[in-house]
């Protein structure tokens, strides 16, 4: 629970990542507030209009952001164990690259082709060094997903390079 340490901080030191998150949230809540005020309110709904809950949310988020900022100045809240783990940015980078490729290639190339590329990049990010084997597994999996969703769930995701080749 939060309470015990909230009130006593003998060695206050700023926890930078937590502070960044708190400030980011504060900015986001300001943004929510600004967007709320730009919602036009018809005088017909003067009682509880469409802005009351957004306003409550914006104020709530701002308050919580301030509370988080206070905690950040008192040493932050991230678990020690979590802090000690150094982030593997290279690995994360490959996964993110896979996601980016997927977003940008899914329109021109179709779902299956984009998925295979994403699959190879993500498995590489996770440390697998067999791109050809992974491409094959990715292809099988993407086709299973494609036909499974198309046939069983009736989700039509649209054809692409590989789908058209197979006459789907």
């Amino acid at each position: 629970m939060t309470t015990k340490s909230d009130w006593a901080a003998p060695h206050p030191r700023l926890a930078t990542p937590e502070a960044v998150i708190s400030v980011g949230m504060l900015i986001a809540s300001g943004f929510v507030l600004w967007q709320t005020l730009s919602i036009p309110v018809s005088p017909m709904y003067a009682k509880v209009g469409p802005t009351v809950f957004p306003l409550v949310t914006a104020i709530g988020l701002a308050l919580l952001a301030v509370l988080l900022l206070v905690q950040a100045f008192r040493g932050g809240w991230q678990h020690e164990e979590e802090k000690e783990i150094s982030q593997d940015w290279k690995s994360l980078g490959f996964v993110a690259a896979g996601l980016l490729c997927n977003v940008s290639l899914i329109r021109p190339f179709g779902f299956t082709a984009a998925s295979v590329i994403m699959f190879v990049l993500v498995t590489h990010g996770f440390g697998s060094r067999q791109p050809l084997r992974n491409a094959f597994i990715g292809l099988l999996l993407a086709l299973t997903a494609y036909f499974g969703f198309a046939k069983l769930l009736g989700v039509n995701i649209g054809g692409g390079l590989i789908e058209n080749l197979l006459g789907a």
Partner: protein, 507 residues
């Protein structure tokens, strides 16, 4: 008696060949995703939501319920053999279960957890069948003001009281409120937070949020900590049959776990972890084999918490089916399936959709039987699933995440949203923000807003409805006490005892 008659009608629905097939598919799939780390019932049901456009409501809810129950069974297998709890509710199972597996009694641990889950799941489902009509009777007296108050209480319990930190839990909840408000306001037709993007007028799909937080966020989180060492799978040793002594140590723990789990689960507060921790503490206190706890592994420490977990999972269905109140991420997603059928979840559900509700409850009994059969004789099959290597597993999860979200609208906007939410999920995991309140806030927030506005319209803008109605007032007072009580207590205590030791990371 009325309940038994209804339940037998339910069985005629659940025992049709098609619905039995859906139950089998659901329990099998549920066990599989429960066993696999990184996948959970909330994510799986979210990905399968399009099925609601294809089949009758009975069929899809039987499927979803099978997944929900199956994931509990599968999750304990992973906890026992891998010591990596798939979800927070199986942390306690891992404590003793993994110790048992390491000392060569993995078979008995798996057996007591599967049979305990069966006992607790069955008693819990009986509880749902008999408690649901009672709660409906109460709920029919509720007006919008009472509903709003109940939802506020539920918000406070789910986010502020049951988690590690009230501030972070509430933050997640409010983020969920914000996401839920995006789109056209149904009462005035006014677009809110759409930023001029046409795709956002219909609101953000629940699927995108759930998949983004649970699948993409989790994948990024695991990718970022790749070198933190690998979990070792304990090979399964020992027969799956329990000795007479293990039976006699288990059955009381199962019943006690059920008694702890079901009432807590069926409260409009939810929370699957608390009953498992409580049950663990009770078993440790009552056990005649205290020396086994934390050393070679005590079977009571697996039997009790597993039963508590499954009983509370059954209990969660009570507020969901009778009040339309979801208290877990999975329940929230199932609730959105009701909405996709145009069915209004709430106290009228039992009267307007008896075949659906009683068929669902009956199918839960069948699911429990199927799950014991699937999980004990076929355990070797599931163990092989744990061996799927992480690179292919997580890359595969992302492929399914893509088709599940892109398939809804075929718009790259949804994919971009998915990945932005995935990035948020990553930060939330890394900085210990709970993710379930986001999903609950997103579904329940707009419902609370509707009830609030309805109450104010009926009262003609008079705020007093919230404090002159006794039920509404009581619920709001409980909520306020639960929210600020701990801080006030902490302040008072601090005045007495100056400066308790500061624990960074505990805040």
């Amino acid at each position: 008696m009325e309940t038994l008659v209804q339940l037998s009608h339910g069985f005629t629905v659940a025992l049709t060949p098609t619905n039995l097939m859906w139950c089998l598919v659901g329990t099998t799939l549920g066990t599989a995703i429960g066993v696999l780390p990184g996948l959970g019932p909330a994510l799986t049901i979210a990905l399968l939501l399009p099925i609601t456009y294809q089949v009758a409501p009975e069929a899809s809810f039987i499927l979803f319920a099978g997944i929900y129950y199956g994931a509990m069974y599968g999750g304990s297998t992973t906890s026992i053999l891998l010591n990596t709890p798939g979800e927070s509710a199986t942390i306690v199972t891992a404590l003793e279960g993994n110790k048992m597996a390491r000392s060569g009694r993995g078979g008995a641990a798996l057996a007591t957890s599967a049979i305990g889950s069966f006992v607790a799941g069955t008693i819990g489902t009986i509880g749902v069948a008999f408690l649901a009509p009672v709660v409906v009777g109460l709920a029919l007296k509720f007006g919008p003001a009472e509903y709003f108050a109940l939802m506020v209480l539920s918000f406070v319990m789910v986010s502020a009281v049951l988690g590690a930190s009230a501030v972070r839990g509430l933050t997640s909840l409010f983020i969920g409120f914000f996401l839920g408000m995006i789109g056209v306001d149904l009462q005035t037709g006014q677009p809110r937070f759409t930023f001029g993007v046409t795709e956002l007028l219909d609101g953000i799909s629940m699927v995108v949020v759930a998949v983004g937080l649970f699948a993409v966020g989790e994948t990024l989180y695991i990718a970022g900590r790749r070198y933190t060492g690998h979990d070792e799978i304990v090979p399964l040793r020992g027969s799956l049959y329990m000795t007479a002594q293990e039976w006699s140590r288990s059955w009381k723990a199962w019943l006690r776990g059920t008694l702890i789990g079901f009432p807590i689960g069926s409260m409009p507060a939810g929370g699957a972890e608390i009953p498992t921790f409580l049950s663990y503490a009770v078993e440790k206190k009552l056990s005649r084999h205290k020396e086994e706890f934390g050393t070679t592994g005590a079977i009571e420490g697996v039997a009790g918490p597993e039963a508590a977990n499954n009983a509370s999972a059954a209990g969660v269905l009570v507020p969901m089916l009778t009040l339309g109140l979801p208290t877990s991420a999975t329940a929230a997603i199932m609730l959105s399936a009701f909405q996709s059928y145009g069915i209004n979840p709430g106290p009228m559900l039992l009267q307007t959709q008896p075949a659906l509700v009683w068929g669902l409850i009956a199918s839960l009994f069948i699911a429990n039987v199927l799950l014991v059969l699937l999980n004990l004789p076929l355990i070797g099959l599931w163990i092989r699933l744990i061996n799927i290597p992480a690179p292919q597993l997580y890359a595969g999860i992302l492929v399914f995440a893509t088709i599940g979200t892109y398939g809804i609208s075929q718009s790259p906007v949804d994919l971009i949203l998915l990945y932005v939410l995935g990035g948020m999920g990553f930060l939330m995991r890394r900085f210990d923000f709970p993710t379930a309140p986001v999903i609950i806030g997103m579904i329940l927030g707009p419902m609370a807003e509707t009830q609030f506005r309805r109450a104010m319209t009926i009262s003609n803008g008079d705020w007093s409805v919230f404090y002159t109605h006794p039920i509404a007032l009581t619920l709001l007072v409980i909520a306020a006490t639960a929210l600020i009580g701990p801080s006030v207590y902490g302040l008072v205590k601090h005045r007495h005892l100056r400066g308790p030791e500061h624990m960074p990371g505990d805040a």
